[in-house]
């Protein structure tokens, strides 16, 4: 009997609904499980990538190492959704946002427990791992 080949489809676990199962950046989800939000850095040219990627378009190398998204970033902009696409209705209302870390930016959600009247464009934020009610993993921005 031939052995069933095991498929690494960890990316299914990213976000409320994931639309990707298999990617060379599956370790991103492994790191989320370890409570770390990680990007990739090209070992050849030193370029930082967030979201992480497997291949460097600058030097055509596929020689990446992981680095942790840590420290403070600045809230660039955000929006609170009153309607959601199919599959996300249970999460409403929620804010999507962009945080600038200088060398890279991070797109994600603002933590649901951060009161709306405390959210300001330009405020310092940090990125932390979050477990969703349906057991899926993502990351959110909180006050730094």
């Amino acid at each position: 009997m031939s052995k069933v080949k095991e498929v690494d489809d960890r990316f299914k676990k990213f976000g409320t609904v994931s639309f990707t199962a298999i990617t060379k950046t599956n370790d991103f989800v492994g790191y989320l499980e370890d409570n770390k939000v990680m990007g990739t850095r090209c070992k050849d040219c030193g370029m930082d990538f967030f979201p992480p990627r497997a291949d460097c378009h600058q030097c055509f190398a596929s020689n990446m190492q992981w680095f942790e998204v840590s420290g403070k970033g600045k809230l660039v902009t955000y929006s609170k959704l009153e309607y959601a696409p199919i599959g996300f209705e249970e999460d409403l209302p929620y804010c999507i946002a962009l945080v600038d870390y200088g060398d890279y930016k991070v797109f994600g959600r603002i933590a649901g427990n951060l009161p709306e009247d405390e959210i300001r464009v330009g405020m310092a934020m940090q990125t932390i791992v979050n477990t969703l009610p349906n057991g899926q993993l993502n990351y959110v921005f909180t006050k730094a």
Binding site: S79, Y83, L98, R109
Partner: protein, 388 residues
């Protein structure tokens, strides 16, 4: 250098739900353009079919349409850049004619969004962004544009009232457009009445009135070589400039959130190619999928300096009688936005303007017109400059 002309334009009436199949929908826009150009199907050397995928069960719609429209055995193929698909189609048709491969090309845009439910449609549209890294957060088009609106308001002091004024202008002309979905008047006061639908929140700061509606529709633009145009048309409109650009799909890869770099870049290319500048544009169609998108277009096209777009709408400079009339056909906000058909509809409006055939919305003696058509959230930018 030989020129390339538009010799025929047409569109279906845009509706919330079209009572027919996609091939029947496409026939409507095609028929109008062919009658406008006074051509028969044998005169069309090739067709370019434009839409955003995943709304229809039909795969590879080009083949089906070519048969239904009587365009066999001529070549046909499909192109897409989401909401700017038919502007991309126009650019391709321009290239095919310019290269001497074909004399006459039909650019056919369509979308039947009612094939799926509104929330499914939002999900499809959201997947026009980065499905690996953004969509799992629950994104949709209004929320992305809302992020640009928030940034614009923060940096420049643009207000919700300014955005409401753009919708009021759109409705002023939408009422006159018998092919528009939304033809009711919109009063400025509706936005401050919490009971009014226009004021309902969608994605902060954008309200229902700031957003265009899904629609079903088709459009068709017939492009011809200079020689062909001069031999068969007494009213050719010339393609003077075409520009196009792209950017990072994930917002994390962008630096500007108060405007669209793709619009700035596409505009510069089109202006350079046409040898004109923003001050030379007599009438424009811009991609107002949301009110903030029109505001940013004023600035990205150079009609106003960055941050000063609001002065144009406050002073009614973009009305029919103003310095630079914009979207005097009601825009996407009134017409509705059948993704793949939208660019062709915008081109049609400018062609009719340049031919002095725009009836109630005719701008006085326009020589040069501009079309600004954006795909995705500022992902694809297309600017086309036309002249008579």
């Amino acid at each position: 250098m030989s020129k390339v002309a538009i010799i025929g334009v047409g569109q279906s009436t845009f509706v919330r739900s079209y009572p027919g199949s996609i091939r029947e929908l496409v026939f409507e826009g095609f028929k109008e353009a062919m009658q406008d150009a006074q051509l028969s199907t044998g005169d069309i050397d090739a067709s370019v079919i434009c839409s955003a995928p995943e709304y229809d069960k039909q795969r590879s719609p080009a083949g089906v349409f070519a048969e239904y429209l009587g365009l066999n055995p001529q070549p046909t193929f499909y192109v897409e850049t989401l909401c700017s698909s038919s502007s991309t189609g126009l650019k391709l048709a321009y290239s095919l004619v310019k290269a001497g491969l074909h004399d006459t090309v039909a650019v056919i845009g369509f979308q039947k969004m009612s094939e799926i439910s509104s929330s499914e449609s939002q999900e499809r549209m959201g997947r026009g962004a980065d499905i690996q890294w953004e969509s799992p957060f629950g994104t949709m088009m209004p929320a992305y544009y809302a992020m640009y609106a928030k940034a614009h308001m923060e940096k420049y002091g643009t207000t919700l009232d300014d955005l409401a004024l753009i919708r009021v202008k759109a409705a002023t002309y939408g009422q006159l457009n018998e092919k528009a979905v939304y033809r009711k008047p919109v009063e400025f006061e509706m936005f401050s009445d919490p009971e009014n639908r226009m004021a309902g929140p969608v994605a902060d700061p954008l309200r229902v009135g700031d957003c265009c509606a899904n629609a079903d529709g088709s459009s068709c633009v017939i492009v011809a070589s200079e020689e062909k145009a001069k031999s068969i048309s007494n009213k050719p409109v010339w393609i003077l400039g075409v520009g196009a650009a792209s950017t990072s799909v994930n917002l994390a890869g962008r630096d500007l959130f108060t405007g669209l770099t793709v619009a700035e870049q596409a505009a510069q290319q089109a202006y350079d190619m046409a040898g004109v500048g923003p001050q030379d544009i007599d009438v424009a169609e811009v991609h107002d999928c949301f009110t903030i998108a029109e505001m940013m277009a004023y600035e990205n096209l150079g009609f106003a300096k960055p941050g000063e777009g609001r002065e144009l709408i406050r002073n009614k400079e973009t009305y029919q009688q103003g310095r630079i009339p914009v979207n005097v056909d009601g825009g996407l906000l009134s017409k509705g936005h059948p993704i793949g058909a939208t660019g062709g509809s915008q081109i049609r409006t400018i062609v009719l303007q340049l031919r002095d055939e725009a009836a109630d919305i005719q701008v006085k003696n326009p020589e040069i017109g501009l079309v600004h058509n954006i795909g995705g959230v500022g992902l694809y930018g297309n600017v086309t400059i036309l002249g008579r």
